[in-house]
């Protein structure tokens, strides 16, 4: 896991976000608030955290991160990479 490159992590995360948000457009809107876009809601956010744990063995507790620190594609990727 530790040997994953930034690009690999990014690609995996984009696939995952596309699946969870149900929308390939998220790839092109990486700095927009996914909650405002309507791509993420609280249930989808939970799915995402569970999937991140399954995929990267990284657990992010909803209580440890403010929504503003994890509400765009790029911020989500950043939070995951910090913990790898």
């Amino acid at each position: 896991m530790a040997t994953m490159t930034h690009e690999e992590v990014e690609e995996k995360m984009l696939d995952m976000l596309e699946e969870v948000c149900g929308d390939e457009e998220v790839r092109d809107h990486r700095d927009e608030d996914l909650f405002e876009l309507g791509s993420l809601d609280s249930m989808a956010a939970v799915e995402l955290l569970v999937d991140i744990e399954d995929e990267f063995d990284v657990s992010i507790a909803p209580t440890e991160v403010e929504r503003e620190e994890m509400n765009t594609v790029n911020l989500i990727i950043e939070q995951v990479e910090k913990r790898l």
């Binding site: 699946e19 457009e25 809601d41 249930m43 989808a44 939970v46 507790a61 909803p62 403010e66």
Partner: protein, 553 residues
């Protein structure tokens, strides 16, 4: 003879321990004494303002005014119809028009959008009272209705509106007897039977799952610990609130527990008093039950099953090692006393052999009276029947598939029709489709559930837009109710710009959210040129569902 055993038992609690807390949310509390007085005050005011016994709409969210109003309605001879503020105005409008300009108790201020549906002289606005004492004071001059005014026997106690296949919600009428029979059963549950427990009060009151804690807590001297929609949306504040709550009976959908379980701090050390997790509303998954047993080794995890049409739930099953060891879906449990579960052939109605799968038919003393002012739908699903001992009761065809094993335990296997459960909410896919088709510019719509990890993760809508004669989609027809609609603009030169897929989705979501509850709005929209058809010429739902399978499942 007891007129209304539920109201009676709340009054008994108020007489024994008037100082005990009946309801708490954020900073506001209401004791049993205050609940009794506040509901008397509301009942008195209602009798003054209405001379009939028609259903009364109670509009609001998770606060003491709602709970006092429910009881106030019952004491003044009115069924209550809980309507949550989170529902979109047009949906509430549908409910109000079906009830034929009902009297409305406003526990929250009515929004301007609802004004046209409500006559100004048919409203009791109690939204301004910030605590029970103020409310009791304000109506102190009115006489308290005598107990023979209470809703009783076969009269309707409450009407819950749920998703209907025609695009309009339908009302399920639960009688006072139904609730009393349900109450006798709930009071035998572990923890609940000890009395004085603290119940998590999370589901909106317009969802009948909330009757679990309303009836369970208030008839046993328990305390409702209410968490609002806003609080639920913010895990950090929610957990801070729960940690102080002393909750001992947890009532929620499995989805809500899943949401909490994502955080490792959700465990016995945060909620040391939890004795019972009570689930209903959707299938309880192995993963959820196993995680709860690990995090809360001293609590009982119980699965229950039942549609709104049979008063919250009719089967109960504690999930232990044996149930978790099997790969089969977790059992729904054995029926309560007063209920018999029959499995019948969905086509002929003939009983199936033990162990065989068929349609679940619920026969018993908690089966609803039927659908409000809808004899046709009522006749389709409800009938008169009798229990094995000869007691005359109603029967309800659930449309759920399942089988009963040799031990008499029910196992659920999904649905026969297009009614689905998403995160505990029941949704008629046709209801969503009707509402999408009602949007301007939309020609056809088909909604399919997308399954991920044993349960429905979200809904996906396939949409065919109206077209010009040359075959290009008529985007200019497309119109959103949302003010910030970017999808449908004329660029000023008479030419219509092709909107981006994201803009289209956003405006579809916004328009739809103005018509149906948030939980019914599909997460994903796909625009397609035409609907795939089956050889019979029907929309090929299977093909659409197959195309939207989760890739990573």
């Amino acid at each position: 003879m007891v007129l209304n055993a539920f109201v009676e038992s709340v009054e008994t609690q108020a007489a024994i321990a008037p100082w005990a807390i009946a309801f708490e949310a954020d900073s506001c509390c209401m004791t049993y004494g205050e609940l009794s007085s506040a509901s008397n005050a509301i009942a008195a005011k209602l009798r003054e303002m209405t001379s009939d016994r028609f259903p009364v709409v109670v509009f609001g969210h998770k606060d003491f005014r709602m709970v006092a109003s429910f009881l106030g309605c019952l004491k003044s001879g009115h069924a209550f119809v809980p309507v949550d503020v989170e529902l979109p105005a047009s949906r509430i409008g549908d409910i109000l028009s079906q009830l034929d300009s009902p009297f409305v108790v406003c526990a929250a201020p009515l929004s301007g959008a609802l004004a046209p549906y409500v006559a100004t002289d048919r409203v009791l606005d109690i939204s301004g009272f910030s605590d029970p004492a103020a409310l009791i004071d304000a109506f102190s001059g009115c006489g308290v209705p005598a107990s023979d005014t209470w809703v009783s026997g076969e009269e309707t106690q409450y009407i819950i509106f749920t998703s209907g296949s025609t695009g309009k919600p339908k009302g399920i009428e639960i009688s006072a007897n139904n609730v009393c029979n349900f109450m006798q059963w709930v009071r035998t549950f572990p923890a609940v039977r000890e009395g004085g427990q603290v119940f998590l009060d999370q589901p909106p009151y317009s969802f009948d799952l909330s009757e679990y804690e309303l009836v369970g807590a208030l008839s046993t001297g328990g305390r409702l610990h209410a968490v609002s929609h806003e609080l639920t949306a913010d895990t950090r504040s929610l957990f801070a609130d729960l940690a102080k709550s002393d909750v001992s009976v947890w009532v929620s959908t499995p989805s809500f527990a899943d949401l909490c379980l994502v955080d490792p701090s959700f465990s016995e050390s945060m909620l040391p008093s939890v004795k019972l997790f009570l689930f209903c509303g959707e299938a309880l998954r192995h993963a959820t039950a196993a995680a709860l047993r690990e995090r809360f080794p001293h609590a009982i995890v119980a699965n229950t099953y039942g549609p709104t049409e049979s008063t919250v739930a009719v089967t109960y099953c504690e999930i232990g090692e044996a149930e978790l060891a099997s790969d089969a879906p977790l059992p729904a449990g054995a029926p309560r006393p007063g209920t018999e579960i029959r499995i019948c052939d969905p086509e002929t109605g003939e009983p199936c052999a033990t162990g065989d799968s068929g349609e679940i038919v619920i026969v018993g003393d908690t089966v609803a009276k039927g659908y409000y002012r809808n004899p046709e739908k009522t006749q389709k699903a409800f009938s008169q029947s009798s229990l094995c001992d000869g007691t005359q009761v109603r029967a309800y065809r659930t449309g759920d598939a399942g089988h009963v094993d040799e031990q008499g335990v029910l196992h659920c296997e999904g649905r026969f029709d297009s009614l689905i459960k998403l995160h505990g909410f029941r949704i008629e896919l046709e209801d969503v489709e009707e509402n999408i088709r009602a949007l301007r510019g939309v020609k056809q719509a088909c909604v399919v559930p997308v399954v991920h990890k044993e349960s429905i993760a979200y809904l996906k809508a396939f949409i065919v837009l109206q077209k010009h004669p040359d075959g290009t989609p008529a985007y200019e027809e497309f119109e959103s109710d949302a003010a910030d609609c970017a999808a449908c603009c004329d660029n000023g030169e008479g030419k219509v710009e092709v909107p981006s897929k994201l803009d289209l989705e956003r405006s579809l979501k916004a328009s739809l959210a103005a018509r149906i509850p948030e939980y019914m709005v599909p997460r994903r929209f796909a625009l397609i040129d035409e609907m795939p058809l089956t050889p019979n010429g029907k929309i090929d739902r299977k093909a659409l569902a197959a195309s939207s399978r989760c890739k990573r499942a």
